[in-house]
């Protein structure tokens, strides 16, 4: 008996009991729809977190100054000024586990262009900063090492600055003032949006670190002239982050002549670790949602088994007749298996449509981000077909092993 004929026989049998077939399918429809909608919601949340990780820059460590002491009083975090430009250079040059290290100094400054003004964070840094944060430009160029060396008055500005200061103007090539010092805009950063802590990352002006220190921020009298407020360190790869963290700590302790047992005068924070922990909890949430939804699919599968068992009992005489006229055991097995799989696969297809619709509804009504991956849809349909095979096998086997004489006599 060929596949097409078997399929036709199965469809006819399902059509004869249309209402029952539809109700049986409903179990699978609900199961598949639940799996797809839940996974879409989970994947959407996960996707948002991974976007945040990307906007921060992957594999990123930040080295801060520790709090300093004046007499017995401890000042706030970052108030120490032990990190220097040379520390940054050394980290990048001497450590295998570090790709780039970008020193930064920062402060809040008043910006003026034409008759508009804006207050924003200004960061002095080196070209490595753009590598460390994986931050590209939408226009213009970044400053060069040469411009850093000669304290050039050039600036790369974020989108928020453009929106607030350069209304209807192409900012590149324009001159604006930071703390009354004229700077030329040489580049505009890509938009990054909020970071995972809700800060606007685009509200920033980047200038060469040398210029920032001499022209803009000044340094307190007790600080060394080359001190920096933080160093951004990009690890060589994701799986070498803890190695990089140890290397950075060790090298800085050596450079700062900190003896064993003494406290560090700096702190290393692994930012991506924090965000990745959130991503992990999202992933677990997605798994949990999928697991709960899978139970619905399982119940649907049991519904199919139930109905197929009823169907085998009801059609015992038909099975006996088919055997009498020449159906082999495997023909009968196949016929009932195809019926079960047809039920579950059609249910799966309808479930996919319902699931996608449900996810869209959630996105619209609740405003949650949803992400529907095509592979998830294919997997859902294949999985529901597999449910049909799994739960259809026992009833089909029962049918195939009937004795034709008994089956023909069955009342």
């Amino acid at each position: 008996m060929n596949l097409l004929a078997t399929f036709a026989v199965a469809l006819r049998a399902l059509r004869v009991n249309a209402m029952r077939s539809a109700l049986t399918m409903l179990g699978i429809i609900i199961g598949v729809a639940a799996v797809i909608a839940m996974v879409a919601v989970g994947a959407g949340a996960q996707d948002r977190v991974s976007q945040q990780i990307e906007s921060l820059g992957a594999n990123l460590l930040i080295v801060f100054n520790s709090s300093s002491r004046q007499g017995g009083a401890r000042l706030g975090a970052g108030s120490g000024l032990s990190l220097t430009l040379d520390d940054a250079l050394a980290l990048q040059r001497e450590l295998d586990s570090v790709a780039v290290a970008a020193p930064t100094v920062r402060g809040s400054t008043q910006l003026i262009y034409g008759n508009l003004n804006w207050s924003a964070g200004t960061q002095g840094t080196t070209p490595e900063y753009f590598v460390a944060r994986e931050w590209g430009l939408s226009d213009g160029r970044i400053f060069t090492p040469d411009e850093v060396r000669r304290s050039a008055k050039v600036a790369v500005i974020g989108q928020t600055i453009v929106d607030n200061l350069f209304v209807d103007t192409n900012p590149v090539g324009e001159t604006f003032r930071i703390k009354k010092v004229p700077f030329e805009v040489i580049g505009v950063l890509d938009k990054k949006g909020q970071n995972s802590f809700g800060q606007d990352q685009d509200d920033v002006v980047l200038v060469p670190i040398t210029t920032a220190r001499t022209r803009l921020l000044g340094t307190s009298s007790r600080a060394r002239p080359d001190s920096v407020s933080a160093i951004l360190v990009k690890g060589a790869s994701a799986d070498r982050m803890s190695e990089a963290e140890e290397d950075v700590t060790e090298l800085l302790r050596t450079r700062h002549r900190i003896t064993a047992g003494e406290d560090d005068d700096f702190r290393v924070r692994n930012l991506s670790e924090i965000t990745e922990a959130r991503a992990e909890s999202q992933r677990i949430l997605t798994l949990l949602l999928a697991a709960v939804a899978s139970i619905a699919l399982l119940v649907g599968g049991i519904g199919i088994m139930n109905i197929m068992l009823v169907s085998v009992t009801e059609r015992t005489r038909e099975i006996g007749l088919r055997m009498a006229v020449g159906a082999r055991q495997r023909d009968i097995l196949f016929q009932f298996l195809v019926e079960a799989v047809t039920l579950s696969a059609i249910g799966g297809l309808i479930g996919v449509v319902a699931g996608v619709g449900g996810a869209a509804l959630v996105a619209n009504l609740a405003g949650w981000p949803v992400l529907i991956e095509p592979t998830a849809l294919i997997v859902a349909v294949l999985f529901s077909a597999a449910v049909g095979v799994f739960f259809g096998f026992y009833p089909a086997r029962k049918a195939a092993h009937l004795d034709p004489i008994d089956a023909l006599r069955y009342e």
Partner: protein, 249 residues
């Protein structure tokens, strides 16, 4: 012996019910030639059904030999038996056993599904057989739209669709009124005249007299095996059907 279609030697079949062994058939040796029309009779429990199941390849003997058209089928496995039932044997049942909500044509096509015949040829052959039994205009009717006699004719068309060597009929007139029963027997006699071997099980002596030979079973053995004198012709009875009715008045 070349013309023997069915040849059983010491055929026996025992059923095991718990600890007791029930011998349903105890050493039956029967030869049936090609082209014969045989009636099998006997009270219930005589072993006639067991005998029919065995020669119909629905069951395997506990002991003994069975040759169908020269082939020893006692030793075949279930798949091989299914193939033999499919190609060589046509079954007709007392209760017709048609698939409900399925057209006459599809019912007749069904055995061909298991012979791997292509869809177009299935239709042609099934339609031809339905035409043979006089149901050319009822092909798209489902069993519930057909009379009992028509349903049995569909079942006969189904039995014939694969050109079998042997047609086995189990009480084929048992569920029909007497006139319709005679019509069915007329079809069997016509088929037999065309060369098909027919074995029917019946407990009605009148029906048995349409056959050429009657084998009577009792207690699992053949009690009597004799030819029929003054064999009844179903066509003659149908031609004179009104007369006995008038005579009765």
């Amino acid at each position: 012996m070349a013309d023997l279609l069915i040849s059983t030697r010491d055929l026996s079949r025992h059923y095991t019910l718990g600890d007791t062994v029930v011998p349903a058939l105890r050493g039956v040796s029967v030869d049936i030639a090609r082209g014969e029309f045989v009636a099998v009779m006997g009270p219930s429990g005589s072993g006639k059904s067991t005998f029919m199941n065995l020669i119909g390849c629905l069951d395997r003997p506990t002991d003994g030999d069975y040759q169908l058209a020269g082939e020893n089928v006692a030793a075949l496995d279930t798949d091989a038996l299914a193939a033999i039932r499919n190609r060589r044997i046509g079954f007709v049942f007392q209760t017709f056993n048609l698939l409900a909500r399925t057209t006459a044509l599809q019912n007749v096509e069904m055995p061909l599904l298991y012979s791997g015949v292509a869809a177009a040829e299935r239709r042609t052959r099934a339609a031809a057989r339905l035409n043979d039994v006089g149901l050319a205009d009822r092909m798209d009717h489902t069993p519930s739209q057909l009379s009992g006699g028509q349903q049995q004719r569909v079942a006969i068309a189904r039995a014939l669709v694969n050109d079998p060597l042997l047609v086995l009929a189990d009480e084929p007139t048992g569920a029909l009124d007497s006139r319709t029963g005679v019509e069915i027997m007329a079809i069997f006699q016509d088929l037999n005249a065309a060369g098909i071997t027919i074995v029917i099980v019946t407990h009605e002596p009148d029906i048995a007299r349409y056959a050429q030979r009657i084998i009577t079973f009792r207690d699992g053995v053949v009690m009597q095996d004799e030819g029929v004198h003054n064999r009844t012709s179903a066509r003659d009875i149908l031609a004179n059907w009104e007369k006995p009715a008038e005579a009765a008045q």
